[in-house]
Symmetry: C2
Subunit: 306 residues, 2 copies
């Protein structure tokens, strides 16, 4: 029973964020604003299709309009860029997301950087990355943003704690490590080229794993009392049944930790909740609005045009 | 005598880079191009005046034109931004640098972000920071760039080594840690909020210190055989004599290390050399030129306008 209290309920935390978003979207209606989310999918990767469907469903439930643009696998970098430029100029669209990964022949970075930074709800454009690293206000990538909320649900002040981030992708590892440095953690970023990775993880008060390798992290890697955030979503098919596995050996680690996220039901739901959060934030930014002290939506002072 | 071989001669490495820059500037002349460096100084901070003078002197020696713009301490953010916008559009100016720190009443970030990213030879605009973090080609901040060259002068392949960066400033610590992650090091970033900082430094194969605290790093903090890069330049005045001190207790650390930079004569000269290097790189980028295989300067294919 004690063990169960250690499992961070990402689903329920995400639910309460989504309820807040729903409430904010309703308040935006009083300003005659309906936030719009544009999702671009290229090809028919089954996982991508599931992700896109879930995002759109969540947006609809939160009173956010969504527009799906489906491109053939054979589409070109230029075609995608043209579509994005069009969406950048479309006032009904407040957030643009390109479902990754894109096919190999597409220049992914070029496509992403075409998104107007203020509509870049995935926080992946050069401008939003640069803002995060230099501690300026921008849109923060959804998955690491969600991980940080989960960590803080356990330990609100993490200043001075040792954090280890496994993985250095642009989507998770890099922004996660920068977010944790901004929170005054001492941060180590480890990756596929790291020697003695287990010895480094062993020191972590906060361990975030985004390696994409099922059950990579064993009991011996984890410090007693650590907070463990498992970003991995690995689909393992056996005897025609597909199971989702995280990057950590959950059952064996559970007794040691202070708190741990399950897969599924941990980080996954938070990514979607933060996507909606970013969409509302982007919408407010574009319309010269902000959250007031009591959680209501107010006009920004000095904003030039509404 | 053995000890002396361990001292990384930043002055001599910087000199050879500056000779190369001189040669490249001469080659640019054959294209009728003289690189131009604009330096903006606000107020009359004596250290800043020395830095600016040294940069301009080095530029002149390398056949790079320099233009100094001196503003009063009381100048405004808007005045600085207007000047920078003017320089962004001036074809004689290929690199723009704002000598930091700026007075407290100035919005430093706003001023820096006004610099056109392709002229941002200090690599401090949001765009160049974002490019560094996402491994895209951009201008890299001078001091960490210089540190990396010094590290590689000792150990050309640093993949998998443990690096610890002390300090998380936008100018040194943050870009340094990102550069080292890009080089496949396992990187820990520590700072004023870190507990047991000495225990973490002790694990470092590569230790870069940019803390601004004289003799902060003691012998016990340093691993046997480490490479130690001391970014600190602390001016200590005693009995009317001013001495430069680094962030490490050099004399006591020297016997333990594989290599160490002195202060002065270590990182300092590299910062200036890399500033000139960035100025040439920026100039070539703006003119559609690049370094060819034999170190000669050639036109880029597909470059639209010269």
């Amino acid at each position: 029973m004690i063990s169960e209290n250690k499992i961070i309920d990402g689903k329920s935390i995400a639910k309460s964020i989504r309820e807040e978003i729903f409430h904010q979207a309703n308040m935006l209606k009083t300003f005659n604003i309906i936030p719009g989310l544009a999702v671009i999918q290229v090809g028919h990767n089954p996982s991508s299709t599931i992700y896109v469907r879930n995002k759109v469903k969540a947006a609809t439930e939160a009173n956010i309009h969504s527009f799906i643009f489906q491109f053939e696998e054979s589409t070109s970098t230029e075609q995608l860029k043209m579509k994005i430029e069009h969406l950048n100029n479309d006032p009904k669209v407040n957030g643009i997301l390109v479902q990754l990964p894109l096919p190999n022949h597409i220049e992914s970075m070029e496509v992403i950087n075409t998104i107007a930074p203020e509509k870049d709800i995935d926080g992946l454009t050069i401008e939003n990355v640069g803002k995060l690293v230099t501690r300026q206000k921008g849109l923060i990538p959804c998955t690491p943003q969600g991980c940080l909320i989960l960590i803080k649900s356990i330990e609100p002040v993490i200043k001075g704690l040792q954090a280890v981030v496994v993985g250095r992708s642009n989507i998770v590892g890099r922004p996660m490590s920068n977010l944790l440095v901004n929170e005054d953690c001492t941060v180590t970023i480890v990756h596929s080229r790291t020697y003695n990775i287990e010895k480094i993880c062993e020191k972590a008060d906060i361990l975030v794993i985004a390696a994409g390798k099922p059950k990579l992290v064993k009991k011996e890697w984890v410090k007693d009392g650590a907070i463990v955030i498992d970003v991995g979503i690995n689909r393992i098919t056996k005897f025609a049944t597909t199971k989702l596995l995280g990057d950590v050996d959950f059952d064996n680690i559970l007794p040691k930790v202070r708190a741990i996220t399950p897969v599924p039901g941990g980080v996954g739901p938070m990514t979607i909740a933060c996507l909606l959060k970013n969409t509302i934030e982007a919408t407010m930014g574009q319309k010269g609005l902000m959250l007031g002290k009591n959680g209501d939506i107010v006009k920004k002072d000095n904003f030039k045009s509404l």
